[in-house]
Structures are given as C-alpha cells and as structure tokens.
Amino acid sequence: MTQSTAGVEHDSTPAGTPRRARRFEPFRGITFAASVLVLLILGAIAVFLIIKAIPSLSHDKKNFFTTKSWSPDADPPVFGIAVLVYGTVLSSVLALVLAVPVALGVAIFVVEYAPRRLATWLGYLIDMLATVPSVVYGLWGLLFLVPHIRGFQHFLATTFGWIPIFADPNNRTSVASRSIFVASIVLAIMVLPVIAAIAREVLRQVDPSLKEAALALGATRWEMVRTALLPPSCPGIIGGIMLGLGRALGETIAIALVLGTSFAVSLHVLQPGGNTIAANIANYFGEAGDTGRSALIATGLVLFVMTLGVNLIARTVIYRSAVKQGGLR
C-alpha cells in the first residue's frame, strides 16, 4: 500500500517539485520520534524497576527467590518472593481452569448458536463483564462471594477432600474463608471476557466454506464445530488464553480485597490465606518503609518479566495464526 502511494506521489506532481516535496517531511520525523519514545518508555519501565530494586536486594539477608517470609523493613531485612510467585501462579491457573471452558462455550455460542439478530448484543453483554472496574469485583468478592460461597466451599472440602488441593485439615472451611479458591473465581470472571472476545474474533475468521463442507457431509452442528471450526482457530484461541493468563497474573485490587494480608504457602486452596505478587504490593505498600518499597518494586520487576514473557508468546502465536489465515490483526 505504501509502495503504491509513493508511486502516485512521484508521477502526479509536476517535474521539479517532487524531490523538494518529498524531502520536506518533518511530520515523518515527529511521528517516528513518537514511535521511538514508546519503545523507550517500555525500556525505561524495566530500567527504573531494576535501579530501584537493587538497594533492597543487596540488603536482603536471605535468598530472594526461595525465602518464604516478608519482613523487608526489619533489621536485618529478610524477604523472599517464593510464597508470592506460588500464590500468583496457583490462583491464575485455577482461574483459567474455571474460565476457559465457559469462555470457549460463550464464543462458540455467540458465533454459531445464538439467534443471528441477538448475537451482536449478546456479545456486547459479555464485553460488559470487562467494563466493570476490578475494584468493584473486589468489593463484590469480599462482601458477597466470600460469605455466600461458604456452603459450597465446605461441600467441596467434605466431598472431594481426598483430592489433595481440596483437603481441609482442622476443618477451617466451616466458616467463611477468604481463600485462593474465591480469589480464583473472581479472577475467572475477570479473564473470561478477554478470552471470549479473542476466541470470538478468531472463530469468525474461519472460512465459511469449511463449515458448509462439514454440514454438507452430514455433520451435526456440534460435529461441524468440532471438526471444521475449532481446529483452524486453535492457535488464535491459545493466544487468547495466554492473554487471559497475563491479565490474571497481574490483577491486583480484586485479589488484594478478597485475600487480605497473609503470608503462608498452603496447598489447600479452600482454606483461608494465600497471596499474590500484585496483591501483596497493594496491601503492604501503605506500611512499607524505604527498603520495603524497594523490595515491593523488586517483586514488581519479577511480575513484569513474567507478564512480558506470557504476552510476547501470546502475541507471537496470534500473529502467526493471523498471517496463516490472512485476516485478523
């Protein structure tokens, strides 16, 4: 496209002027500078996080990656990220386990099953889930979900307690519990619209002749979805799930409100306790001193690297599948 416009520019301007007209492009320089600035901002985020993380890391008396306690403002400072990374990954993975099947179902429903006239509006309805601010989800999770889900958590613990993660030693789920499980449900609600939106776009890009061919061979609608719709959209959907994972890893306020402050590794997701990198920053920041703030920045750096990796993989996967299908950008 840019090539063709350049050609037009050259041909249509009278002789003598085109060179000057083309050379005088300060605007090109300005827009280029803006693009470079964006890259610089991304680089600056990494650089400043590293600079401000170093003081606390050099004071830390224990190994930053394996220590399971958090007292950076004590003397000597002792803190580590093990508990936080564990809680972050566990809650995000659990959230994906809950959200992915529903999100895929919603996307397939909107693209294939919903009445055509309503489909767009039903899609908007799901998008609305993404418009509710995370602090409102946190408030709702803390004041509605935690008390109302008590019975269900207790049921899970008593019925499926033989599965290690649902085990409930000391019977602590009989009272309302601010557990990783509740946090994961809130996270699942928040990542669902992200995954559903990408999956919907990817499913829409599938060549209709594939679907028609499947139906023409006598496939039922579900068989058409399974054999013609899902296989070509698989890479794009995986990309969408990765984006959802990135969102779940970085979610802060909702988790901070639901979980509160605690610093223990527990495999039992139904019991109270658990913490994530982001939630710990929000909850601990108010009382943190100089070393404490620097330590929080160090954990933020780890979160930044984690989400950057996940997002890079996700985007690359989506780009590849888009190139293959020649549509979605």
């Binding site: 009278p14 090109r28 693009s35 055509r116 601010p133 995370s134 609600i189 139906l215 023409a216 979805v225």
Partner: protein, 302 residues
Amino acid sequence: MSAASAMAGPGAAATSQVWKLRGRRAIVNRLMTGAMYLAFLVAVIPLALVIWYTVGKGLTRFSWSFLTHSMAGVGPNDVTGGIYHAITGTVEQLLIAAAISVPLGLLVAIYLNEYGAKGFSTVVRLLVDVMTGIPSIVAGLFVLAFWVLGLHEGYSGFAGSMALSILMLPVVTRSSEEMLRLVPNSLREAGYALGIPKWRVIISVILPAARTGITTGIMLAVARVTGETAPLLLTAAGTLFVNNNPFHGQQEALPLYVFSSAAGGTPADVNRAWSAALTLILMVVLLYVIARLLTRRDATRR
C-alpha cells in the same frame, strides 16, 4: 438427503434435521447445544449479580450530598461524608492522562499506518500490543520508581495521570491505527493528485475522515482506565480532603476511595464504598454509551 437440507439453511432446517438423527450423535449434539447455552448463562450470572448487588447496596447512601461532600472531618462510623474530592481527582487525572496519551498515541498510529518502514513498524506494533498486557500495578510501580522516588517529586495526581497514560497509550494507538487503515486509499491519492504534501494530506484529509472512529477509541481507552485502582494507589496515594491541584500533594480518586473504604470495614465505610462503586460504574457506562453512540451516528451517516 440430510446434507441437502442442512445446506439449505443453518437455522430452522438444520434444527429440524437434528431431531431426526438417532443414537449417540444426536444425543451428543443436543448435549453440546445445551452446554453452549449453559456456558452463556454461567457467564452472564456474575455480571447480573455484580450489577444487581452494587445498585442495590449503592443506592442506600447515594444522594446529592454524597456527591458534593468530601471526607474532611468524617469519622469511620459517621454516616455523613461523600466523594466530591474523589470525583474531582478522577476527572483531573483522566483529563491529564488523555492529554498525554492521545497526541502521542495518534502520532504513533500515523507513523505505523502512513510512514512506517515495514520491519520497524512490525516491531513497534508487537511491542505496543505487549504493552497492552502490562499489569496496571507495574505501570504504577514504574512511575513510583521514576517520578515519585527517583526524581523526588512526591505523590500527586499528575503522577497518577502518568501511570494511567501508560495504560491508555497502547489502546489509543492500536484503535487509531485500525481507524486510519479504514480510510480509503482514493482519498489519499486524490490529495496527492492535487499536489498537497503528505503531512498536509494526513492532517486535513485522513484525520478528519477517521475522526469519529478515533474519538470512539479514545473514549473506550478513557473508560478502560477510569476504574484503575492499583497504579493510583502507588502514585496519587489518596487523601480525605479536596485537592484541586493535580501537581502538588496527594489526591483522591474514585476507585481509590472504593478500595480504602472497603478496607476500612466499618458498616458506614462499607456503605460509602458501595455508593462510590455505583458512581464509578455509572461513570464507566456513561463513557461506553457515548463511545457507542458516536460509532452508531457515524454508521448511519455513511
């Protein structure tokens, strides 16, 4: 036979065909149809619950006085107090964030769509997309490390705006780029044919043509960051008092108010949190409705 009728129409014809199928395939098909409807229902239930609960709880304290009073001199158990200081803070922070990210995002979008060299554009585009995925708390930590602690500027509404603008920038850039791409090439060529320099064509032909779409994208980006709490917690830091100077001193914001009230925990605090959450949702919905109306008006005009 079944193939012919299934081809004819994926709607009524296909459904009636399904009923004639027998055995395992028909059962699986009906189960999966049910599962799809169920998935949609499961996704809508939390939305309904959140909105129903927020509206129900939020209306108890929602009043004119709640909107026009700050928290100055209000104790945790007093049933007075309001969100005036939070609303002014949020509006100022959003306007400044938009003032930073909109021009910058537009320039990048123009570069990507009108000038960009292929390789460099791909890199920029990928990194802008990756930026969309930066957790909001990391944006807050960056401004904290760079501005608040690094340059010793201290907490302020402006610091919060910078964090918000980092979150807005990729959204503005990508949506504006999509809109610029939709401008037909014939418009560009008509401009060049008249001998107008490229920068002039961009400013007076292409941007006006894409104006509505770009505005919609900006509104959506603003709506997206309106509810951001985490970055403001680390940069604007919140206060109980009215502070109309975004460049000096801690400033309250609506999402921060919800967070600190919810964490406060007394019944009066919790009631205020619900009412502020309701105000926040109304603000976000208002921005979305404006954005959708703009798109719609544009669609009918064409």
